[in-house]
Symmetry: C2
Subunit: 329 residues, 2 copies
């Protein structure tokens, strides 16, 4: 017989799945009206929230529940990384159909718990209700040293434009998943990136603490869309060299450039650095400090408010935002 | 011609609707990856989040967009009040169909802005996407003096049980709205309570700062459900006097008691106080300090872990949770 799951029972299961850490400055809110968090002196709180909706952000029949749990937290934490902050705790709002409160929910909690441990981001509280489709909203509270947060608005003409990791891999992974080629070993890396993205917390913190990045954003909707956001906030333009784009290995050039420009969900960091020899040297030194991903110079910031793609030696074309926008027809 | 609303355009409209306050310790996140908040020394952060979903929590054809905007924030702030805290800022996650991005969304933002001003809770950031039905999730960050938060778990045997305001009025308002009797003047108060609830921030703060309440919760799902939560968290039971329940005026006794016991959405505060003469005198003095609402003694806490309703002089029956649970069949 299917057990009856009331809201209180679900909350109890979530609490069991996330035993409170000791020596924490957090008091769990699952089971009270709200959570309590002690802030650390000399720091500012960094706040962000993120939708993760069945049908829009994941497909129930394609994405394992475990990956849904991992990814909903990882992508929200990526926004904290993009400010140069470190995550502290999160709130989980989940609405789900009664028939998913059993095995699916256990799988989901498993993935979420792994992400919570890996990203050192504790569960603080949340809200649980019923809906015919799975709805998830994650709020992450992080911290950054006072005055050290890196905004989107700090890019200046002549700044150099860098990106971490590989672009377009997650989009490739999604394509493979849709085609049902999820198990082919060739596609494993792309699939992993799509299902279990790794927010670049260490890189973001390094760039903020050393004052290296003048502006930063995480690439969630695609380079063409997210670079436009940096440029708009900073009142500048940019030129990107197509040849330099770090697209996934084993993909033809044209498709590679398209994936790198417009593919979403990579959660890599896009940032600008002042174009001085000292800053470049400091950046190289800093990157040796962390295990994390390669960082690639892909272009520079320009005064003219337009995004350009340079192809080879002379050809240039405008980059139009082709990343993900839920309201685009 | 219907304008094309992209996600960026919606964010711009939200930003315009919430001009940044001056002298604030908050930096707006709409337009950046995350918001930045400076915490105040000697305080703890209070964190809560709340679903507000079309079909579950409101009906598109019955509830004005303005009331949806007001209520989604007011009910989340009520969780902060129930800890004895004061709200500081909120994050708005909203998903909506393209056809509601015009007039409906303007009405929604109007109600939200009024609530934001009235409750002194600034917009800090959020996430906007598209969905076939309106989905809202609100995170509120509040603050409470360190060590002063009132939890659900502090009720002790013999404590007195108090409740603010009138119970069951919001449920009555919902019934009137469903019957289409929304405009009758008799029902105005009940409707107002249902559409534009007032979280009891001042009362909650007073009870926490003066160390008066030993436990507290806001009544969102009905007294029978929320009192059970206090009792479970505190490991105690309670006896409620039916005659003492503050049900809405003009309602027959049996219906009044039912509304007061099981009606949801009132956002009144339910709290316990040590049964000493000094504490009762201090409570009475304190209540004179703030304008609103009346506070009623409705019963007491017992050692035995059961919820009882006393009817008249001798009759007693068990109270079974009959408040709102989205997973109850």
């Amino acid at each position: 017989m299917r057990p009856r799951h009331t809201e209180n029972e679900l909350v109890t299961r979530i609490k069991k799945s996330f035993p409170s850490a000791k020596n924490t400055s957090l008091r769990l809110a699952l089971g009270d009206d709200a959570a309590l968090l002690k802030s650390r002196p000399g720091h500012e709180e960094v706040l962000t929230c993120d939708w993760f909706l069945e049908g829009s952000h994941f497909l129930r029949d394609k994405h394992p529940a475990d990956a849904v749990g991992w990814k909903c937290l990882a992508r929200a934490v990526s926004d904290i990384a993009a400010m140069g902050g470190a995550p502290r705790c999160f709130l989980l709002s989940i609405a789900l159909p009664a028939e998913l409160t059993g095995r699916w929910f256990e799988g989901f909690l498993g993935g979420l718990r792994r992400a919570s441990r890996k990203l050192q981001c504790e569960l603080a509280g949340g809200d649980t209700t019923r809906h015919e489709r799975v709805l998830i909203n994650i709020t992450v509270i992080g911290e950054v040293k006072r005055g050290r947060a890196v905004l989107r608005s700090g890019a200046r003409p002549d700044d150099l434009l860098f990106v971490s990791g590989t672009l377009g891999e997650a989009d490739l992974g999604l394509q493979l998943l849709r085609k049902g080629e999820g198990k082919a070993s060739k596609s494993r890396e792309a699939l992993r990136k799509h299902l279990y993205p790794q927010p670049r917390i260490e890189l973001g913190q390094l760039l903020s603490e050393r004052g290296l990045a003048t502006s930063m954003i995480d690439i969630s909707d695609g380079l063409s869309t997210d670079l436009a956001r940096i440029c708009e906030a900073s009142g500048v333009g940019a030129v990107v060299a197509e040849d330099a784009l770090p697209w996934p290995r084993g993909v033809a050039e044209e498709e590679g450039a398209r994936l790198a420009l417009h593919g979403g969900d990579d959660y890599e960091l896009l940032f600008t650095v002042r174009p001085s020899r000292i800053q470049i040297r400091r950046l190289k030194m800093a990157l040796k400090m962390i295990p994390g991903p390669p960082v690639t110079l892909i272009g520079g910031i320009s005064k003219e408010k337009i995004l350009l793609l340079s192809k080879g030696k002379s050809a240039v074309q405008e980059i139009l935002a082709g990343g993900w926008d839920p309201f685009r027809e």
